[in-house]
Structures are given as structure tokens and as C-alpha cells.
């Protein structure tokens, strides 16, 4: 049985278990399972135990925060002061920032215990986590399959109970899709809801940090802790959600208008389609109103996403030149030669591919045809979302058109892999929030995720619907054995 935050918090307070004992249980499980799963790429057990000791002191007080003493993990692109933060890229191997990401700083202040940094696609570019320079993490539910990506390690760690929760980042589906593949909950908040300070940028106008957890409530608790405006991130918003979202989950769905757009179901694996339809029926039986809608811009969303994300990435990744930090080529003849060699050795193929794509779409002569046009279509997609949310409160769709790929699956090449992001990228383009919740498994026992999309800063409704579904659907996945025995 996987532990949930409220239950662990209770046990920590009743002294049934101490934070140090809890942490040691997770460390033991990681030592046992991680060599196979490769969910973590940097382990921070020493600092974890120190943090756990401090948490135990703090737990003696009545007002210790809910997350105090709870062991967790961070995706390797979230900066941790003095601890490795490498984006799973050779170019940042051995990089240790001297500052914390705001989201981590907030959790640390609440007494969170960081077990380590999790595996991911290099610079968050990928859908399987296989572009990691540390090798792919394996899907704990079936180690012949990938975890999804790019926050694959974060999903695997939560799935295998090697962390109570984790943070990931989502640029085009990188939290939701691995959550779906591993059978956990993953929330991509509204753009601006969580500070991006200290999140190593991929596509700056799309990136957002969010939680992966074993329940909607846990995800809500973590979101409550990390959200909020930040004076170090101009794009962050200090939105007033009214109260703790985790405390407002217990609502039914009577009268909630659920939008279903057929475009999201085109070309979707029939097993997945069936499970999502079952889930929608369940909500409908409980009083939700289904609205059938159109979302014609969906197909064009994918090229728009790849143009904008790659354009921003090509600029964001220019700084890795071997001069100030990270990898530097060992022999070179000039500064230019050093930069070229460093980048050539440091970046993997997928990153190089996206840098070239992004450089191309921003080049003079191509800018108008690609980047500028993509920005105009982005506005059109925003308008379609606005129109949709006039007719409904949430939009329900599959998280991914498929369940987890077998390891090393390449299909017909990069474009087929890019196509698997079709259901998640529109959400990032529009900056709206969405959650992936498990809603069943396919014939091979691989988890299926349902995506619930809300309007900007509509996390409360998204979480409420997800929580209601999770509570009423009961057991939708087979049991997972393993992980920390607590």
C-alpha cells in the first residue's frame, strides 16, 4: 500500500514513526530498486537524513507544516543549492548551482526531505526519458516499458513508492504523460501559478513546475505549497485561490459541465478511448453534464508547439558554452573551437535536433513563415480554449494517444514520437491547467491516464473533478508491489 501525505503526516505526529525512520525506509527501498529502475540519477541521502532530523525536532511543535518530514524527489532540472542539477545532460554533468529554485525553496522551508534528483529526458526534450545521459528509467509497472517523459524519473519514483511525491516540469506534457504511463497523478498548473525561478529553461513560455503524486489530494497539497507569485519570476502570478485547494476537494460533480471534443479522440488507441468514455459516463451518472464540442485547432497545435518550444530552446541553450560551468571540451585551438567542441560533445542528438529546428525557425527569411505564424496560431488556440470554457467547466481528454512504449521503441522516427504529445501540448500553448489521473489499464496491464483540463487558474475545479473521479472509480489499476514498506 502506497503512503499518502495526510496519513503519513498523522503517523509522524503520533510518533508512530519518526521522519528519520521514514526517510531510512525510503532510502532502503531506493537502494534496493533504483539500480534497476534508474528513477534517481543523484541521491542526496546525507542531506535527506539531516533534513529528517530537523523535521523530527519541528514535528514536536503543534504547528509543523503538513509536508514536514515527508520524503520526496525533484526532477533534475530544478535547481538545488549545492546539490547536482544536470538536466541529465553531459553538458551539465557535475553542475551544482549555488541557489535554490523557488518551488524547492518553499518545500524546503516546510521541512520537506529531498531524497534525490530524478531522471529525465535531456533538457526535458523527449517523451520517454530515454534521451537522459544516465540511461532511461524503467517503468516500475513493467520494466520492459518506458516511464514516459520527460519527467519519467519523477513518475517512476512515485509509482514505485521511492518518494511520497515528486516535482516535475511540463513543457508539452512532461508531467502528465509520464504520470499516465506510470499510473500516478500529475498536475500541470496554470502558466505562472508556480514560479519558474531555478527551473532550467527549455521552452520558457510553456514550462511549468508541478507535482506528481499517488493521489489527487497529495498533488493538491503539494500544489498548495509551491504555488504563488515570485518577485524573481516576472511571469509568475500571485493568484488568489481563496483557500487551500487540498481542503476544498470534497465536492460532487452535480451540474459540472464536462466538455468533450471529438478531435482529442481521433487516432487514439481504442482501449484508451473506451476507458476515458467509461470515466466520462461515471461522472455523468453522478450529475455532470456532458457538452460535445469541437476543437479544430488541435491538429495545428503540434507544429505550433514544436516551433515555439524549439525556438525558445535554441536561445535558452545557447549559454552552455563551457566557459562558466558544466562540461568543457578538453582540447581546443581557440575560443570558438572550444565552444563548438563543448556543445558537440555535451549535447545529445535530440537536443541538437531541437536547437537546429529552433535556430532555423527564427532565422531571417524563415521567421515570418514559422515562428511568427506559430505565435499567431497560438492566439487562435487561446481563443478556442476561451470559447470552449464558455460552454464547459472542464475539458476531458486522453492524456496520451497510447500507453507506455516498449523500451527503445523508435517507431518511424522522431515525428511519430512528437505526435504522441498531441493531447497535452495545446494545454501548454494556452497556459491552462490540466491533470492526469489513472483511469484504467490496457490489456498488457499498462496504465491509462485521463486528462482533465481547466480554465486559467481553474485548478480548484480540475482538482475537484479529478478527486471525485478518483474516489468514485475505486481501484482502476492493478496493485504495485515494492517500494518503501511503511
Amino acid at each position: 500500500m502506497k503512503a499518502r501525505i495526510p496519513e503519513l503526516a498523522k503517523r509522524l505526529r503520533s510518533r508512530e514513526i519518526s521522519a528519520v525512520e521514514l526517510t531510512k525506509a525510503y532510502i532502503e527501498a531506493i537502494e534496493k530498486l533504483n539500480p534497476t529502475l534508474n528513477a534517481y540519477v543523484h541521491l542526496t541521502f546525507d542531506t535527506a537524513l539531516e533534513a529528517a532530523e530537523q523535521a523530527d525536532q519541528r514535528l514536536k511543535e503543534d504547528d509543523a507544516p503538513l509536508l514536514c518530514g515527508i520524503p520526496m524527489a525533484l526532477k533534475d532540472n530544478i535547481c538545488t543549492d549545492g546539490l547536482p542539477t544536470t538536466c541529465c545532460s553531459r553538458i551539465l554533468k557535475d553542475f551544482r548551482p549555488y541557489y535554490d529554485a523557488t518551488a524547492w525553496e518553499k518545500l524546503k522551508a516546510l521541512g520537506a526531505v529531498l531524497l534525490g534528483k530524478t531522471n529525465m529526458d535531456e533538457f526535458a526534450m523527449g517523451s520517454t526519458s530515454e534521451t537522459s545521459c544516465y540511461g532511461a528509467p524503467l517503468n516500475p509497472r513493467n520494466t520492459n516499458y518506458v516511464t514516459g517523459g520527460s519527467s519519467g524519473g519523477s513518475a517512476a519514483a512515485v509509482c514505485a513508492n521511492l518518494a511520497v511525491y515528486s516535482l516535475g516540469s511540463d513543457t508539452g506534457g512532461s508531467i502528465r504523460q509520464p504520470a499516465s504511463f506510470c499510473g500516478v497523478v500529475g498536475l500541470k498548473p496554470t502558466y505562472g501559478a508556480v514560479s519558474r525561478y531555478g527551473l532550467i529553461a527549455y521552452g520558457s513560455s510553456l514550462d511549468q513546475i508541478g507535482p506528481l503524486a499517488n493521489s489527487v489530494k497529495d498533488a493538491a497539497i503539494v500544489f498548495d505549497a509551491i504555488k504563488g507569485g515570485d518577485k524573481r519570476d516576472q511571469t509568475s502570478v500571485d493568484y488568489d485561490y481563496g483557500s487551500s485547494l487540498a481542503e476544498c476537494l470534497d465536492r460532487d460533480v452535480k451540474g459540472v459541465r464536462i466538455g468533450v471534443a471529438e478531435e482529442f479522440f481521433d487516432g487514439i488507441n481504442p482501449e484508451i478511448k473506451a476507458k476515458i468514455e467509461d470515466a466520462i459516463k461515471l461522472l455523468e451518472r453522478n450529475g455532470a453534464v456532458v457538452e460535445n464540442l469541437r476543437f479544430p485547432a488541435l491538429k495545428i497545435a503540434l507544429p505550433v508547439y514544436y516551433i515555439i518550444a524549439c525556438a525558445e530552446a535554441s536561445s535558452n541553450l545557447g549559454r552552455y558554452d563551457g566557459i562558466r560551468y558544466g562540461h568543457r571540451a578538453s582540447s581546443y585551438t581557440s575560443i570558438d573551437d572550444m565552444i563548438v567542441k563543448t556543445r558537440n560533445e555535451g549535447f545529445g542528438d535530440e537536443v541538437k535536433r531541437r536547437i537546429m529546428l529552433g535556430t532555423y525557425v527564427l532565422s531571417s527569411g524563415y521567421y515570418d513563415a514559422y515562428y511568427k505564424k506559430a505565435c499567431l496560431i497560438r492566439e487562435e488556440i487561446n481563443r478556442e480554449f476561451d470559447a470552449v470554457f464558455e460552454k464547459c467547466d472542464v475539458l476531458i481528454a486522453p492524456t496520451a494517444p497510447n500507453t507506455a512504449f516498449p523500451l527503445n521503441y523508435r517507431g518511424s522516427g522522431p515525428v511519430e514520437m512528437y505526435l504522441s504529445d498531441i493531447c497535452t501540448v495545446p494545454v501548454n500553448i494556452a497556459g491552462v491547467p490540466a491533470i492526469s489521473v489513472p483511469c484504467g489499464e490496457d490489456a498488457r496491464g499498462l496504465p491509462i491516464g485521463m486528462q482533465i483540463i481547466g480554465r486559467r487558474f481553474g485548478e480548484a475545479t480540475v482538482l475537484q473533478v479529478a478527486h471525485f473521479y478518483e474516489q468514485s472509480a475505486g481501484k482502476v489499476l492493478g496493485d504495485y508491489e515494492g517500494g518503501a514498506g511503511i
Binding site: A101, G198, S315
Partner: protein, 472 residues
């Protein structure tokens, strides 16, 4: 052959904000290398820029002072290029929505040089080449700059210099930069081409980068115009390229291109939100602008009747002009105040910087008290100068040095007897005056002044003396 010079100037000016454009680091000049740095201005992974509102405000000040239109909607762009002094591999700048557009600077001739645009951007770090190694100092990385682009309205080396000089003066006046060309807080790039007089088309232009003094601007324009004219006269063509002016040889030569990327792949910086500027804010900034130096100059000459040379010297430095105007407000006369400032106070200030700073130990009111004594003829100019000297050294008021009894000074009877003494002691001077050498009377004035320590009313003394000489 005769050619017409077509010249435009791009000027980079470092803004005198306390902190950098996107982080809280100090902008102070100097400092041990890499001590004025943080994750943001060294481009560490995960760091994000926060636009300093003061920078926007300063740029608007510049725009208003240069008669520009201020765009109420604007945004920042990324200019992508690779160079070791640029830690993010892009410079955050403005491309298609500059903060200010369409202004001008008026030259003394009345000709207006158009200002195309003013935009804000960040400075890069500095490379230091030493012992076969290259070191990088990022202290300057992220220091705010404005780039002021002129129209190609400049048609002579003199105009180029005057444009830059006026620009420098205005920027200093409005307090947004010290514009020290030697220290690099003002740098000019000159674009220049030649054409036959009357030809509506532009010739091929070259760009002379990073000129660091006003006189070099003038010399560089002359040298480049000559170089281009020679090429054209010989039937050659001008190659569009980047040049460097070498002050030692007073010549212009092509620069080694540091980067063959003329495609900067500009795009809007997603980390910085588009911003809107309130009309109210613009008006507030406009209201806070000081009277500009050329308006002052005009007013000093036309309304106050100062000679142009004196008016120019005073209006040139904002602090001096303010001190001068404060003195007038304290009831002092224009002429005496101006002469004492230019003649006495400036004699202590040898450099432009000192005049710019105008660090005097007395207030305008204290100065006005002294000038009033001179105006009322209670002291003469020499005493005024001497007293001013002492006041400047001590910071003390005039009454520390000139006592009321000194001023009450010499009674009419005393003065008459003094004049008699002077008359008796200087028979030769008396004879000279009588013979038409009027200047000889100065000998007797000198006698009286010496005896009284300069306190005698010289006009009264003159009247008395002339009576005695029988020459009134």
C-alpha cells in the same frame, strides 16, 4: 571631387541606476572582477530577469529630453549571438518596439538632427587578455544601457561632434548618466557614406565602432570621409564593413569581425512580460525634467543679458546653473554672480568632472549674501574675490570674514582726509591726470585701497579726488 557626407551616430549610454537592469547587483564602476555578479547577470541556468523599472523611467527621461514620442506599449527582445562576454548567448534588447521614437537634437545652427529611436538593453561583460589567457569580468554584464540612434542627418565632422556633445550634455543634465566617454559610459558608433551633392541615393556606408572621445568623433569622420573619397575618386567602390578609428595614427581601418552572425534571430523574450506605460507616468516624468542647457543658455543671454561665453560656461553644468539661479533667487545681481562663478569658483576646478560635480562648500544663499555686498558697493570686487576664496575654503558665511564695522567702514570725513593724503603723496599722478592721462588716477585709488584694506567706496573717492585735481 566634392562629396556630401551622410552620417548617422549610434550612441550607447550607461544609465546611472543604482542596480543592474535585470537583477539587484550594483552598477558601480570598477570593483574586483566578478564581485558585482549574481546568477541572473552571469546567466546561470534557471535564473530569470526582472526588468528594473528605473531603467524604463530613465529611458523615458532621455526620450522626452530628445523630443521623442514615447511608446506606451513596449516589450523586450532577445538578440542571439555567441561571444564569451555575453553569458546567456543572447542580449536582452528591444527590436521592433523601442521605448522612444522620432525625436531630434537641435544644433547651434538651428539644424535638427533626427533621433530615430531609443531603446533599452543590457551591457555585456568585459574580456581581459593577459599572459596569453583570456579572462572575463562580468561586473558590467547587465548594466543598463540605452542605445540612441540618429537619422543620417549629419553632414560634417563638426556636426557629428556637436551632435555628440549636445547629446552628452543633455543626458548629464537630466541625470541619467555621467556619460564619461573614457570610462565607456558613453560610446559612439559612426555610420558614414558619401554621395555626390544632390544625389538622392545613399552610398555604401561603413560603421566606425566604439569611438571614445568627442574630438575623436570629429577626427574619425574626417579620416573616414577622406578615405572613402580617395577610393571613389580612384574609381573604386566602398565595401560595407566595420571599422576602427586609431587615434595614434588618426586613421580608420577595418576591424576583425568578432562574429560572422549578422542574423541575430531576434524574438520577444518570453521571460519578460510586455509592458504598458501610463500616460500619467510620462507626464509625471516630463514635469520632473529640468530646463535643458540650451534653453538655459538662450534665457541667460536673452532675458538676463549675460554675454554668450559666460552664459555658455554656466549653463553647461546643471549644478553650476542651479547654483547660479539659486544665487539670483537670493537677491544677487546677474553680472556679479556670473563673474564670480566663472572667475573665482571655476579657478578651483580644473577638469570637466569637477565642474560637473561642482562640489562647493557654500550654499547659493551664502554666496548670494556676498554678491549682494558687492552689488551694494559695500565691498569692491577684489574683496569679494578674496572673501569668496576664504568662504570656499572654510564653508563659512560671509560675516565670518567681513564684520559689520568693516562695512560701516569709512566715514565721509575719513575718506576725504584719505583722498587728501593720496593727492599730496602722488603729485606726479595728479599732474598726469591734469595733462590728460586719466588712467593715472588709478595710482591714487590704489593708495586709498591699500590704506583701507579695500573697504573704501571708490566712486565716492573718485568724486573727491577729481574735485581736488580740479578735473571733475
Amino acid at each position: 571631387m566634392n562629396y556630401e557626407i551622410v552620417c548617422g551616430i549610434e550612441t550607447h549610454i550607461e544609465l546611472a541606476t543604482r542596480t543592474k537592469i535585470f537583477c539587484g547587483c550594483t552598477t558601480e564602476f570598477g570593483g574586483e572582477p566578478n564581485t558585482h555578479c549574481c546568477p541572473v547577470c552571469t546567466g546561470q541556468p534557471g535564473s530569470l530577469p526582472i526588468l528594473n523599472q528605473k531603467v524604463v523611467e530613465y529611458a523615458i527621461r532621455a526620450g522626452l529630453a530628445l523630443n521623442c514620442k514615447i511608446n506606451t506599449r513596449s516589450h523586450m527582445d532577445r538578440k542571439n549571438y555567441v561571444y564569451p562576454d555575453l553569458p546567456k548567448a543572447y542580449q536582452i534588447s528591444q527590436y521592433d518596439e523601442p521605448l522612444c521614437e522620432n525625436g531630434y537634437i537641435e544644433l547651434d545652427s538651428g539644424k535638427r538632427i533626427g533621433i530615430t529611436r531609443i531603446h533599452i538593453e543590457e551591457d555585456a561583460g568585459k574580456l581581459i587578455h593577459e599572459n596569453g589567457y583570456t579572462y572575463i569580468d562580468y561586473n558590467r554584464s547587465g548594466v543598463p544601457l540605452i542605445e540612441i540612434v540618429s537619422e543620417p542627418d549629419i553632414s560634417s565632422a563638426e556636426e557629428a561632434r556637436e551632435y555628440a556633445e549636445k547629446l552628452q550634455l543633455i543626458m548629464r543634465y537630466i541625470g541619467i548618466s555621467d556619460c564619461k566617454m573614457q570610462e565607456g559610459s558613453m560610446r559612439c558608433d559612426v555610420n558614414l557614406s558619401l554621395r555626390k551633392p544632390g544625389d538622392p541615393n545613399f552610398g555604401v556606408r561603413t560603421e566606425i565602432k566604439n569611438i571614445n572621445s568627442l574630438s575623436f568623433i570629429q577626427k574619425a569622420v574626417m579620416a573616414e570621409a577622406e578615405r572613402q573619397a580617395d577610393i571613389l575618386d580612384a574609381g573604386g567602390t566602398i565595401v560595407q564593413q566595420t571599422m576602427r578609428y586609431d587615434e595614434a595614427t588618426n586613421s580608420v581601418a577595418p576591424m576583425r569581425d568578432k562574429e560572422n552572425s549578422d542574423d541575430y534571430r531576434y524574438f520577444p523574450d518570453p521571460d519578460i512580460l510586455r509592458f504598458c506605460i501610463d500616460e500619467d507616468k510620462i507626464e509625471e516624468i516630463r514635469a520632473s525634467l529640468p530646463e535643458l542647457p540650451f534653453d538655459k543658455l538662450r534665457r541667460y543671454v536673452n532675458d538676463l543679458g549675460l554675454p554668450e561665453a559666460t552664459a555658455r560656461q554656466i549653463s553647461r553644468y546643471r549644478k553650476v546653473a542651479e547654483f547660479f539661479e539659486g544665487t539670483l533667487a537670493g537677491g544677487a545681481s546677474v553680472k556679479n554672480a556670473a563673474n564670480l562663478i566663472v572667475g573665482t569658483i571655476f579657478s578651483h576646478m580644473n577638469t570637466e568632472e569637477e565642474k560637473e560635480l561642482f562640489a562647493v562648500r557654500i550654499s547659493a544663499d551664502q554666496f548670494a549674501e556676498l554678491v549682494r555686498l558687492l552689488d551694494e558697493k559695500k565691498i569692491n570686487y577684489g574683496v569679494a574675490q578674496g572673501t569668496l576664496q576664504k568662504m570656499l575654503e572654510s564653508g563659512k558665511s560671509v560675516d565670518e570674514f567681513i564684520k559689520p564695522e568693516d562695512l560701516a567702514g569709512i566715514s565721509d570725513e575719513e575718506l576725504e582726509s584719505l583722498c587728501r593724503e593720496a593727492f599730496d603723496a602722488n603729485p606726479k599722478a595728479v599732474a598726469d591726470v591734469r595733462n590728460g592721462k586719466d588712467k593715472a588716477i588709478n595710482v591714487m585709488f590704489g593708495f586709498i585701497m591699500k590704506k583701507t584694506g579695500g573697504k573704501a567706496d571708490i566712486r565716492k573717492a573718485e568724486a573727491l579726488l577729481r574735485k581736488m585735481i580740479g578735473h571733475d
